[in-house]
């Protein structure tokens, strides 16, 4: 498991001079304070600027509620799909050598490196009125763009490789010998997957799922392009924050933003706990 070995640190005698260490520490602390800690605190102070009452009111508005529910719905579909895909892709890439393997690895990483806005535009070109599939879709009265399916497709694209990447690196590091041992002991392919591969990967799988979920709920760019911003219909939490902000409803915008900030903090906390459990084995 990752993190199983203790962290190696330099012994005092091998360290840099005090002045160098202080300088490096100062740079790191200043940077983190300015770009991470301060904004995080600002989100919460702005949200609570008018006290707890307006904060709760902003969170309980019907539009915020529908944004929360939509965000959860999108994640509930996208995360399981990408988890399944991640397991399949990792198995294929880490355990088999075939022609086009490196092309596949690059393709898996593509959604990661493409700007999310471009990803959104790709789907407009694909599903839009004048798009590749547009006329067929409208003939069959299927609405993807500016509707919930569009949000799901865009989110799935952006979070495509989150689980796969996590699993591929771990599986390549572990090597296939436990699976081979299981095969020589008479296990079928299914038994190997169920009793050896998946249990072995469970902590990295969980990490991948948590990260995938965080990204799915927090995605803005791609979703913004395909959403159409229909309030109460196709507004996810990040889009809702933007709308409130553009309407100068700062308390509302930051109140909703605290939800996303909390999601991020909880994600990191759970990820740490998962890592700790994984390291104990």
């Amino acid at each position: 498991m990752t993190g199983a070995s203790p962290v190696h640190r330099l012994a005092p005698i091998a360290r840099e001079p005090l002045a160098v260490r202080l300088l490096l520490t100062a740079v790191a602390v200043a940077f983190i304070s300015l770009f991470v800690l301060l904004p995080l605190i600002m989100v919460f102070t702005c949200a609570l600027a008018d006290g707890a009452g307006p904060y709760w009111a902003a969170l309980q508005s019907p539009e915020t509620w529908s944004a929360i529910k939509l965000t959860l719905r999108v994640a509930a579909v996208v995360v399981p799909l990408n988890t399944l895909f991640g397991i399949a892709a990792a198995w294929l890439v880490a355990r088999y050598d075939f022609v086009g393997r490196s092309v596949l690895v690059t393709l898996i990483d593509l959604p990661f490196s493409v700007s999310p806005v471009i990803a959104g535009l790709l789907f407009v070109l694909l599903f839009g009125k004048s798009g590749l599939l547009g006329s067929w879709l409208s003939a069959h009265q299927i609405q993807i763009l500016f509707a919930v399916p569009g949000l799901m497709v865009a989110t799935a694209f952006v979070t495509f490789a989150m689980v796969a990447r996590e699993l591929i690196s771990v599986m390549e590091a572990q090597g296939p010998s436990e699976e081979e041992a299981a095969l020589t002991l008479g296990a079928s392919g299914w038994q190997v997957l169920r009793h050896v591969t998946l249990p072995k990967l469970r902590w990295s799988l969980l990490t991948g799922v948590i990260l995938c979920n965080a990204r799915a709920m927090g995605e803005f760019g791609a979703v913004s392009v395909v959403s159409g911003h229909i309030r109460g219909m196709t507004n996810t939490l990040p889009l809702h924050v933007e709308i409130l902000f553009n309407e100068y409803n700062f308390v509302g915008a930051f109140a909703v933003a605290t939800l996303l900030a909390l999601l991020g903090l909880v994600t990191l906390l759970v990820k740490r706990l998962v890592h700790a459990s994984g390291s104990r084995e």
């Binding site: 299981a182 020589t184 296990a187």
Partner: protein
């Protein structure tokens, strides 16, 4: 017969040379056969082909007379022990050993009995509830043996099973394996690069080089009658000397070696001198200085003394003496001694050894 491999070949996708090239041998029922060779000689690939973890390009594998090269690994009835143990890290020792029995759908009660039997066979009866990470390397490898033996395999395949262990544990486990084999008598194929391990454990050695089988036979045969210069140099830590045939004998400088039949005087020979093949004695007063070697260094290795000799031909030969022999000779650095190469192996020809 038990495991018969015939003309087996395998080339990996990204490699220009075959990993295994027309390898043939028979591993007899109930015996230990060692696949010995330097790293990269293809011995592990042969083992994985027998196990069904790799697919051969050509050739046949018969396990107990059955053509097996197309049989999936799980139906070959083999047990495999990996150098890296490959225990299931998320299962207890008991569950590890029970894995193959569950896969074969043994009844619960029989599984429990068999696992307990194996735990006492590997002398870890108390540690059945531990996780593999809580065991030492030697204990882990014993669990791996138990796991492989549990479903009563027809053949046990061992891939450098002691390679990851430190020297003392390796010796312990080697003796333990010998004892285990006397109890179970399961047909065993052992891959190793350690000649000592192969000489000690096996009934037959199959020596491989560059994907080919270069010699197979009883350990003593390979030691006493190496078929090629490679075998001579690989088994027995030989020093290689260049010499010529003189008066029907291989000679290095003025030192006279073994008799060479049917080679004209002046033919080049390569002489392989093992540390135990050389006999030393104090020169008599009439000895010609040209036939004497100089003691270059003496190294005490526990109960034996390693002597590096500087020959008149400028070659360096390593000789091994027992403490008693060394004390009788009273050697010191810089001494000149008489040496006799009578037991050395020689090969006619100029070719450098591979």
């Amino acid at each position: 017969m038990s495991v018969a491999v015939h003309a087996l070949s395998k080339r990996f996708v990204h490699s220009s040379t075959p990993a295994v090239n027309e390898a043939s041998f028979v591993a007899e029922t109930g015996a230990i056969t060692a696949l010995l060779g330097p790293s990269g000689s293809g011995k592990t690939t042969v083992l994985r082909l027998i196990a069904g973890l790799e697919e051969p390009d050509s050739g046949s594998i018969h396990i107990h007379g059955e053509a097996s090269e197309k049989t999936p690994a799980r139906h070959r009835g083999i047990g495999f022990v990996f150098q890296s143990y490959a225990l299931f890290g998320h299962m207890t020792v008991r569950d590890n050993i029970a894995f193959g029995l569950k896969a074969h759908r043994w009844p619960r009660a029989q599984i429990d009995a068999r696992v307990s039997e194996l735990l006492s066979l590997i002398q870890l009866a108390e540690l059945g509830g531990r996780m593999p990470s809580q065991l030492s390397g030697g204990q882990r490898q014993r669990v791996a043996f138990a796991r492989a033996l549990a479903p009563r395999p027809r053949v046990l395949l061992l891939d450098e099973p002691f390679g990851a262990l430190d020297a003392r544990v390796r010796l312990e486990l080697r003796q333990w394996l010998q004892m285990l084999h006397e109890k179970t008598h399961v047909t065993t194929i052992l891959v190793t690069h350690d000649q000592e391990e192969a000489l000690e454990l096996s009934d037959q050695i199959v020596l491989m080089q560059d994907g080919r089988v270069v010699q197979k036979g009883a350990p003593q045969t390979l030691y006493d009658a190496p078929a090629t210069p490679f075998v001579a140099s690989f088994i027995g830590n030989a020093s290689v000397l260049r010499g010529q045939v003189q008066g029907g004998r291989a000679s290095v400088g003025s030192a006279v070696g073994p008799v060479v039949a049917g080679a004209a005087d002046g033919t080049s020979v390569q002489v392989y001198v093992r540390p135990s093949d050389v006999r030393l004695c104090r020169p008599g007063s009439d000895a010609a200085p040209v036939s004497l070697a100089t003691v270059r260094s003496l190294t005490r290795l526990g109960g034996v003394i390693k002597v590096d000799l500087h020959l008149p031909t400028q070659d360096i030969v390593t000789v091994q003496l027992s403490r008693g022999e060394a004390e009788a000779l009273q050697l010191a650095q810089g001494d000149r001694v008489h040496f006799d190469l009578g037991d050395a192996k020689f090969f006619v020809g100029d070719e450098p050894t591979a």
